[in-house]
């Protein structure tokens, strides 16, 4: 009969030697200082800085309500090189004025290649009527000013494994900015796809980057720009709105749709795209931006008791407690910012989760279209202040903004 398997060939006394082997390994190792930085951590820090400091080196005024601001690295504050990014990315601008601390995301309109060797980075800002940040930047920012920026962020990027070889770009107004980065990157061979861009403007003179796009079309046969003017009927331009019919006239058999523009445009275009019967994976929206006016949202709780115009929000940050009066028509994040609290915020559209905070007590309303929380976050009363409106007095716990 075969012997039952056993470990008898190994002596249990070997166990006592283990200790000696370990001690010997430790004894013979150097007592040298350990590295402070490892190479992959250095790459990660270069790609994903929490903060980038810049100086405004050029301002281009498109008209009274739109400017492009070009930044150079501010070496005096420790930024020698802006982070490389993928075309389509955005950066946040950090602003502090009139007792407020604001964070706003802007698509980078320049190409990643422009950042190389201490190079520049450009955002394009359009005036939002009543907007706190855009009015401040357009009216106050000038060449030589110092600016504080985040690292590159966002998911509105082209991925060849996921997206079709042709992208139908749908841009409205200042929603053209990421497409400028896409087109320039195609010319610079950092991106490789066919871009058919439908760009909606009111009139010819409202078109941003017209000369640039003319150049890119000449430089690369992968780029085609179709200008669509809503308020002007002019030779060489499509007239009216971007519609399913118009897209179908230019589109190849397979394509991805990338959309960037105001919320109203998304609503209209999503309806139009419905006619084209595309699977969800072929349609990508850049951040929809902030929602205002909670009670106008289709899923606002209709039978909810009237929410007072002003509510009280008690805010805990790292053991400190502050109480503020907030308008119930502002998101929780807007109220924090207006009260000078540097709350974490990146996308302001509910998606990125950077503002994720804990609702200790009270009730908030988040429109369903902005709901992107992790499933467990909802169970444990975490919420995204950037897209949540107070429905009562609140007590919340937030993290401080990094930086």
């Amino acid at each position: 009969m075969a012997k039952a398997p056993n470990l008898h060939s190994i002596s249990p006394l070997r166990f006592q030697k283990l200790k000696k082997i370990r001690e010997e390994e430790i004894r013979k190792a150097a007592a040298a200082p350990l590295p402070k930085v490892f190479p992959v951590n250095a790459l990660s820090a270069a790609l994903h800085p929490d903060r980038q400091y810049g100086i405004i080196t050029a301002v281009k005024s498109w008209d009274a309500n739109c400017k492009s601001f070009t930044f150079s690295p501010d070496t005096s504050r420790g930024t020698t090189q802006f982070a490389w990014f993928q075309a389509g990315a955005y950066i946040c601008v950090f602003l502090a004025f009139d007792g407020m601390t604001l964070t706003r995301p802007y698509s980078i309109s320049s190409s990643p290649r422009e950042t190389l060797n201490g190079g520049t980075c450009t955002i394009t800002v359009k005036r939002v009527p009543g907007g706190l940040a855009s009015n401040f930047m357009l009216d106050h920012w000038k060449t030589g000013d110092q600016v504080t920026l985040s690292g590159p962020l966002g998911e509105f990027v082209y991925l060849p494994i996921r997206d079709a070889g042709t992208v139908i770009g749908l841009a409205g107004g200042s929603g053209i900015t990421p497409f400028h980065a896409f087109a320039k990157s195609i010319v610079e061979e950092d991106e490789d796809f066919n871009l058919i861009l439908f760009y909606g403007s009111r009139t010819e003179k409202d078109i941003l980057f017209k000369e640039d796009f003319d150049l890119y079309q000449k430089a690369s046969d992968k780029i085609k720009v179709v200008h669509v003017l809503s308020d002007e009927d002019k030779e060489g331009y499509e007239h009216g709105f971007i519609t399913a019919d118009l897209i179908a006239r230019y589109a190849p058999e397979q394509y991805s749709v990338f959309m960037c523009g105001p919320a109203g445009m998304y609503k209209f275009l999503d309806q139009e795209l419905g006619k084209l019967h595309l699977e969800q994976k072929w349609i990508r929206h850049e951040l929809q931006g902030e929602v205002h006016n909670a009670s106008a949202q289709p899923d606002y709780p209709a039978n909810h008791a009237k929410v007072p115009d002003t509510v009280q929000i008690t805010v805990r940050i790292c053991g400190n407690v502050q109480t503020l009066q907030a308008s119930s028509s502002d998101t929780v994040l807007q109220s924090l910012e207006k009260n000078g609290i540097a709350a974490p915020a990146h996308c302001r559209s509910g998606e990125c989760g950077w503002c994720r905070s804990r609702l200790v007590s009270g009730e908030v309303f988040c429109p369903k279209q902005m709901e992107h929380r992790r499933a467990a976050d909802a169970d444990y009363h975490y919420f995204h202040p950037c897209c949540s409106f107070p429905m009562s007095d609140l007590e919340i716990e937030i993290a401080p903004e990094k930086g």
């Binding site: 002596s11 283990l18 444990y380």
Partner: protein, 512 residues
């Protein structure tokens, strides 16, 4: 002396835990429940470290590495289930009935079931004659747990260890290769069982037999599983348990320095300049970071931990890919939660080839097989893993980074399709690829490794456990996490945290 420093001095805590990874959370719950005033400081805006999730489009992707291996049932709970029950942390667990689908191209293609009897029967079918050695290995795995519990008792006797648990000492002192040879396991059976090396991050000629037997036994007897609402659920249930015991947790609060005075930890300094004092500190960080950069340069390093840190090498890095598919697992033909593709039958060969280019080891997980509604109806998620290569990524220029990522996404998807015969490419709705640089961004570990230090023969679990009390550095500073005594692992980090939490409670009692 700290009162005279600049910056705000906040109130004093009994315990500060640096890092809200699994080890940190578990340690913090342990000390808070013992009545110690506990504060957790986390540099990220989320708890969990590797055990986290993120949302892209309509998908929430699980990021944990990978499943928990010894959940058991409520009647026969495994260690992690027991620990969470002990903490009073409520979790809706989901159990998987298969271990893995192993593919070695042109060689092996097999699925192993859980449960001692089905597992042994399947192994005997695959490798006739191997069953007695497989049973022996499982018996040893069971014995290992009993012996370890006995050895931890204060009155444990050497004689009992040398007689009743002699096999425990044998397992602990031989490598996996030696142990499997000793019990006469056929080479092919060894190779199949050694598939698990990839979850321990060490090749069978270095990994101790004790760890291997224990892990295989836990997987087979207790079953793998996951929390219903992803591992983020585990972090939040621990966080909530911590708060109930009066503990606090601050996010976006990176500790940049641990203050040492007279060879004893006194407090920490945050990135924003704030100093917080504490009687005890538990760092859920790599010792490489603690002794490398978190202590002021002019403070002498304790000799043994410093030499130990120099003697060890940083564990393997990982690369992971998260794919949201717009078809169900059933429609695509995915029928196993874990599929492991090994480029060679011999684990020592795949270990040496473990980097992102060669894909020596390639793991594909479809969470929908354990939790069908873990993604929207009509969709599923795939989570791909292979070992990374810091010597490659450390040389990558930022301007080449995304091009390399795009190329690798194509390579990986092709590799998966070729080896499984399952088409996924046309159905990719969302995809994210975490390189070691991504791991650095979220974990901030050396070169982004989630696994602490490389496990070697002289630095295995038992060697770490038996020497931990002799290798401590500064007084009132304890280190936990993936580099700690139970080695790395999703479930092991919870245990590590618990051990250091309990030791800290003891330290606090001795102070009184």
């Amino acid at each position: 002396m700290y009162d005279k420093q600049e910056g705000d001095i906040l109130e004093r805590y009994d315990v500060i835990v640096i890092g809200a990874g699994n080890g940190g959370l578990s340690a913090a719950v342990t000390t808070a429940q013992a009545g110690l005033k506990t504060l957790v400081l986390e540099r990220h805006n989320l708890p969990g470290g590797s055990a986290t999730s993120f949302v892209r489009g309509r998908f929430e992707f699980e990021a944990a590495l990978h499943e928990l291996c010894d959940l058991g049932t409520s009647e026969h709970p495994g260690t992690v289930r027991k620990l969470f029950e002990q903490y009073g942390a409520d979790v809706d667990w989901r159990i998987e009935q298969k271990l893995f689908h192993l593919i070695v191209p042109n060689d092996l293609d097999l699925v192993l079931p859980t449960g001692i009897e089905p597992f042994c029967a399947k192994m005997e079918e695959l490798v006739p004659g191997c069953e007695p050695s497989v049973r022996k290995l499982l018996d040893l795995g069971k014995l290992a747990g009993e012996a370890q519990s006995y050895a931890m008792k204060p009155n444990a006797s050497k004689l009992v260890m040398m007689t009743k648990y002699a096999d425990f000492l044998r397992m602990a002192s031989c490598t996996t290769d030696e142990g499997m040879e000793a019990i006469g396991m056929p080479k092919k059976a060894q190779n199949i069982l050694n598939t698990y090396w990839c979850y321990l991050g060490a090749a069978p000629d270095q990994l101790d037999f004790l760890t291997t037997c224990q892990m295989i036994y836990k997987y087979v007897y207790y079953n793998p599983g996951m929390p219903n609402k992803k591992s983020h659920n585990l972090s939040l249930t621990l966080e909530s348990t911590l708060r109930k015991s009066g503990g606090e947790i601050w996010y976006n609060s990176e500790v940049v320095q641990i203050l040492i005075e007279n060879n004893s930890a006194k407090g920490v300094v945050l990135k924003n300049g704030k100093t917080i004092l504490a009687k005890h500190i538990i760092a859920d960080c790599s010792p490489a970071a603690v002794y490398g950069k978190m202590i002021a340069d002019d403070v002498p390093r304790p000799e043994i931990p410093l030499r130990l840190a120099n003697a060890r090498s940083i564990a393997l890095e990982l690369e992971t890919m998260y794919i949201g598919l717009n078809r169900s697992a059933e429609e695509l033909g995915i029928d196993t939660y874990s599929t492991i593709i090994m480029s060679d039958e011999d684990p020592e060969v795949t270990f040496t080839k473990s980097n992102g280019t060669d894909k020596g080891t390639f793991i594909a997980n479809c969470l929908n097989l354990i939790i069908p509604d873990s993604s929207p109806k009509g969709t599923c998620t795939l989570f791909l893993t292979t070992f990374g290569d810091s010597s490659f990524w450390g040389k990558v220029k930022p301007e080449d980074y995304y091009k390399i990522k795009n190329q690798r996404m194509r390579d990986w998807v092709d590799y998966y399709e070729k080896n499984t015969g399952i088409t996924i490419r046309p159905y990719i709705e969302e995809i994210a690829y975490a390189t070691p640089a991504t791991f650095c961004r979220y974990l901030n570990t050396p070169n982004g490794t989630p696994y602490g230090y490389q496990v070697t023969y002289w630095d295995n679990i038992i060697s770490r456990l038996t020497s931990m009390d002799k290798e401590t550095g500064y007084k009132n500073l304890r280190i936990t996490g993936a580099a700690a005594e139970n080695i790395d692992g999703y479930n092991l980090c919870y245990l590590n945290g618990n051990i250091q939490g309990r030791k800290t409670i003891k330290d606090a009692e001795e102070d009184r």
